[in-house]
C-alpha cells in the first residue's frame, strides 16, 4: 500500500484507512464507526447505483442521447462515504461530478439525466433538499459554501455545509479565499477535496508542490486530514468527525480523499493521451466497490444472489429514469427568459416576443434547414 510508505515518514496530517484493498479491516475500527450491517449494505447499494447510472450516462452520450457528461467511475466511495455522514439540514455545494452525492440527498436520477441532457430543469433543486446546483467554474463554489456556513453560524443554526471540489481546484484563488475566510470566521464547513490525481490531463504534482493537499489546512489555522478515498468507511469516518466538530462550533476541516478517476474527465476527453494504462490498471486494483464487496462477503453479509438481485434492481431503476428522461415534454422558449429576474424587464419581454414571432412564422418552431 502506497499509503503506508507515506505513513512511515513524518507527516503533517493524519492519514485514515480502515478498509484495505483486500476488504480487510480491524474490527475495532469498524465498531467505532457506529454503523450497522444495513448501513454497509446501503452504502454498497448507493455505490452500485451510482456506477450503474454512470455507465448508462456514458453509453447514452456515445449514442447522442445525452450531452457532454463527466463520469465518476472510481470515485464512488469518496462520494457515498461523505454523503452518508450528512444530515438533511446540512447544505451541499457540489462541483460537477458528484452524481452519487446528489442522488443520496434526494435528487432523482431523472433529474441528473435531465441536467446532463442539457435541460436547465435538471438544476431545479426540489424544495426541501438543501443541495446547490452543479457548479461548472472550478473552485468558485467554495466561497459560496463558506458564506452559507458563515450565515448558519450568524443565525445560530446547527446546520453544516460540505463543499466538493477536485485537486485542480486547490490551485485556484477562490480555494485560498474560501478556506481563509472560513478559518478567520470559524465557519461550520467541511472542504471535501476529491483528489482524483488529474485536472483533465494535468497531474496532481503540477497543481502543488505540497506533499499532501490536506496539509494546506494548517496554514489556514484548522485541521486537515487525508483519507483513502477508495475506502468508504474511512471517508465516512473523516466526514462524520469533521461535521460533528463543525456543528459544535469547532470550525472548518479540509478532507483530502485520495482517489482516482478511472476514466475520462468528460466524454469530450481521452485519457489515453496523458497517462499509461498500467497506472489505470494499478488503480483498478483499488476499486472502491470491489473493496466493500469483499468486506461484505468476508463478513457473511453478501451473497452472489444478493449481488445479482442488486445489479438487476439498479439496472431497472436507472432504465426507468432514462425512459422518463427521454419522454420529457418539449419546453416553451419562455423558459430561456423567465428566470433572469424576479420581474421580467422590458427588454427581455421584447426579445421573447421577437423569438415567439419568428417561431410562429415557421409553424411554431425553427425553420427546417
Amino acid at each position: 500500500m502506497a499509503a503506508k510508505t507515506i505513513l512511515q515518514r513524518e507527516r503533517l496530517v493524519p492519514f485514515i484507512q480502515i478498509l484495505d484493498p483486500e476488504g480487510m479491516a480491524n474490527p475495532t475500527d469498524i465498531v467505532e464507526l457506529g454503523l450497522k450491517p444495513h448501513d454497509f449494505k446501503a452504502m454498497y447499494r448507493w455505490m452500485v447505483l451510482a456506477r450503474t447510472f454512470d455507465e448508462r450516462a456514458l453509453a447514452l452520450q456515445r449514442q447522442g442521447r445525452l450531452g457532454t457528461y463527466a463520469p465518476l467511475l472510481g470515485q464512488e466511495a469518496a462520494q457515498v462515504g461523505s454523503a452518508y455522514a450528512l444530515k438533511p439540514e446540512d447544505w451541499v455545494f457540489p462541483s460537477y461530478r458528484e452524481h452519487a452525492v446528489l442522488a443520496m440527498r434526494g435528487q432523482s436520477w431523472l433529474q441528473l439525466f435531465t441536467f446532463w441532457g442539457g435541460n436547465e430543469e435538471g438544476n431545479r433543486i426540489p424544495e426541501g433538499i438543501r443541495n446547490f446546483m452543479v457548479c461548472v467554474p472550478i473552485a468558485t463554489q467554495i466561497l459560496h459554501a463558506t458564506g452559507a456556513a458563515w450565515a448558519a453560524k450568524l443565525k445560530g443554526e446547527r446546520s453544516c455545509v460540505i463543499v466538493y471540489f477536485g485537486d485542480g481546484a486547490t490551485s485556484e484563488g477562490d480555494f485560498h479565499e474560501g478556506l481563509n475566510f472560513a478559518g478567520v470566521f470559524k465557519a461550520p464547513v467541511v472542504f471535501f477535496c476529491q483528489n482524483n490525481q488529474y485536472a483533465i490531463s494535468v497531474p496532481r504534482t503540477r497543481q502543488t508542490a505540497s506533499e499532501t493537499i490536506a496539509q494546506k489546512a494548517i496554514a489556514y489555522g484548522f485541521e486537515g486530514v487525508q483519507v483513502d478515498g477508495n475506502d468508504v468507511f474511512a471517508v465516512y469516518k473523516a466526514t462524520k468527525e469533521a461535521l460533528a466538530k463543525a456543528r459544535d462550533g469547532g470550525g472548518p476541516t479540509l478532507i483530502e480523499a485520495v482517489t482516482y478517476r478511472l476514466t475520462h474527465h468528460t466524454t469530450a476527453d481521452d485519457w489515453t493521451r496523458y497517462r499509461p494504462s498500467e497506472e489505470v490498471e494499478m488503480w483498478k486494483q483499488k476499486d472502491p466497490i470491489k473493496r466493500l464487496k469483499l468486506y461484505l462477503e468476508k463478513q457473511g453479509l453478501w451473497s452472489e444472489h444478493d449481488e445479482a438481485k442488486l445489479l438487476e434492481e439498479a439496472k431497472a431503476e436507472i432504465a426507468q429514469a432514462v425512459a422518463q428522461y427521454e419522454a420529457l415534454p418539449k419546453r416553451d422558449v419562455e423558459d430561456i427568459f423567465k428566470y433572469m429576474y424576479a420581474e421580467m424587464p422590458w427588454n427581455l419581454k421584447e426579445q421573447l416576443q421577437e423569438l415567439k414571432e419568428y417561431l410562429a412564422e415557421h409553424g411554431g418552431d425553427l425553420p427546417k434547414e
Binding site: 431545479r124 446547490f132 468558485t140 466561497l143 458564506g147 458563515w150 484563488g173
Partner: protein
C-alpha cells in the same frame, strides 16, 4: 429635514435598513472598526457589532463569493468593494454566479445582494481608483446597475437596492461624496430602481447622463443661453428606463449622451442604438456622445483632460443643434 452629503446619505440608508431588517449586514475591507475608507459605514460597527459590520480579509472575490453564499442561506449582505478598479478580482463571482443563480436554479434560489463601490474619476487618486466600469455589468444579464447623482436619490436607491430580490451593482460617484449637501428625509423611503429622473424640462435637445456627469451637465446647461435643454438622469442603468429616454428624445428630436466611461461598447453605444432603432425618423440630428476616451483614465495630473467637463458638454449640445 437634515442636509446631507452623498456619503452621509449612503450611511443613513445602510443604518435605516440595518435597523429595519436584522438580516441586512455590511461586509468588506475596512468597513467595520474604521467605518470605511470614505466613511460610508461609519458608526455601523458601533451600533450593530462585528457580526453585522464585518471587516473581512482583503480579498474581493472572497467578499462577493461569501456574500453570495450568505444570501443563499437567508441573509442580505451589502458587500463593499473599496474602489471601482478592484471589482476585477470579484468579476468571476459576479458574472458567473451572482448574475446566474436565479436562472440556473430556475428560481429556487436567488441572490439578494448589493455590491457597493465608489465609482469614477475626479478625486486625484491613484491608478485603479478612478474607473467607470459600468458597461461590463450592464452588459451582463441578471444584474441591476444603479448610479445615483445626488444624496436624496442615493439614499432612496440604496434602500430600494437592499430590498431588491436580485443582485444590484451600486456605484457611488466618489467625487460627489462630499461635493454638496441636499435635504434628505430621515427614516425610510425608496427611489424606484428602473426609473430615470427628469432633472430639467426643455424642448430643443435631450441630454442623457448619470452619476457625477449629471452635475457637469447642469453646469453646462446653466451657462447656455437661449437653448432649452431637457436633462435626463438615468439613475438606473440596468434595467434602463427606456420610456423616459424615448419620450424625451421624441419630443426634442436631438440627443446628447454624457458619460465618463470610455466610449466603445459603452452604455452610450446602447442608448444610441436604441434611439436610432426606435426614433430614426423623428431625429433632427445624429445622436451625439460626450464621453471619456478609449484610453485608461490618466493619473491625477491629466485626468481633467479625460473627464467630460461643462465645455465639452456644451460643444456636444451645439453639435446636436447645428446639424
Amino acid at each position: 429635514m437634515p442636509q446631507m452629503t452623498l456619503v452621509q446619505a449612503i450611511n443613513d440608508a445602510l443604518r435605516t435598513e440595518m435597523r429595519r431588517d436584522p438580516t441586512v449586514l455590511v461586509m468588506g475591507e475596512d468597513v467595520g472598526v474604521n467605518g470605511g475608507v470614505f466613511r460610508a459605514t461609519e458608526g455601523l460597527y458601533q451600533e450593530f457589532g462585528p457580526d453585522r459590520a464585518i471587516d473581512t480579509p482583503l480579498a474581493e472575490s472572497g467578499i462577493v463569493g461569501t456574500a453570495i453564499g450568505m444570501a443563499l442561506n437567508g441573509l442580505k449582505p451589502v458587500a463593499e468593494i473599496q474602489f471601482d478598479g478592484f471589482m476585477a478580482p470579484a468579476f468571476d463571482q459576479i458574472v458567473s454566479h451572482a448574475a446566474r443563480i436565479r436562472w440556473r436554479s430556475r428560481g429556487r434560489f436567488h441572490v439578494p445582494i448589493v455590491i457597493r463601490a465608489p465609482y469614477g474619476g475626479g478625486i486625484r487618486a491613484l491608478e485603479h481608483h478612478s474607473e467607470a466600469p459600468e458597461a461590463y455589468y450592464v452588459h451582463t444579464p441578471g444584474l441591476k446597475v444603479v448610479i445615483p447623482s445626488n444624496p436624496y436619490d442615493a439614499k432612496g436607491l440604496l434602500i430600494a437596492a437592499i430590498r431588491d430580490p436580485d443582485p444590484v451593482i451600486f456605484f457611488e460617484p466618489k467625487r460627489l461624496y462630499r461635493a454638496f449637501r441636499q435635504e434628505v428625509p430621515e427614516g425610510d423611503y425608496t427611489v424606484p430602481i428602473g426609473k430615470a429622473s427628469l432633472v430639467r424640462e426643455g424642448t430643443d435637445v435631450t441630454v442623457i447622463s448619470w452619476g457625477a456627469m449629471v452635475r457637469i451637465c447642469l453646469q453646462a446647461i446653466a451657462q447656455l443661453e437661449g437653448i432649452s435643454v431637457e436633462l435626463v438622469d438615468l439613475r438606473t442603468l440596468a434595467p434602463l428606463d427606456i420610456e423616459t429616454v424615448l419620450s424625451s428624445v421624441a419630443k426634442t428630436g436631438r440627443a446628447v449622451i454624457v458619460q465618463e466611461a470610455p466610449r466603445t461598447c459603452s452604455l452610450s453605444s446602447e442608448l444610441t442604438a436604441l434611439i436610432n432603432e426606435r426614433l430614426l425618423l423623428q431625429l433632427q440630428a445624429p445622436v451625439v456622445r460626450v464621453t471619456g476616451y478609449d484610453t485608461h483614465i490618466p493619473y491625477l495630473t491629466m485626468e481633467q483632460y479625460y473627464l467630460p467637463d461643462a465645455g465639452r458638454v456644451q460643444k456636444g449640445i451645439e453639435r446636436a443643434l447645428s446639424f
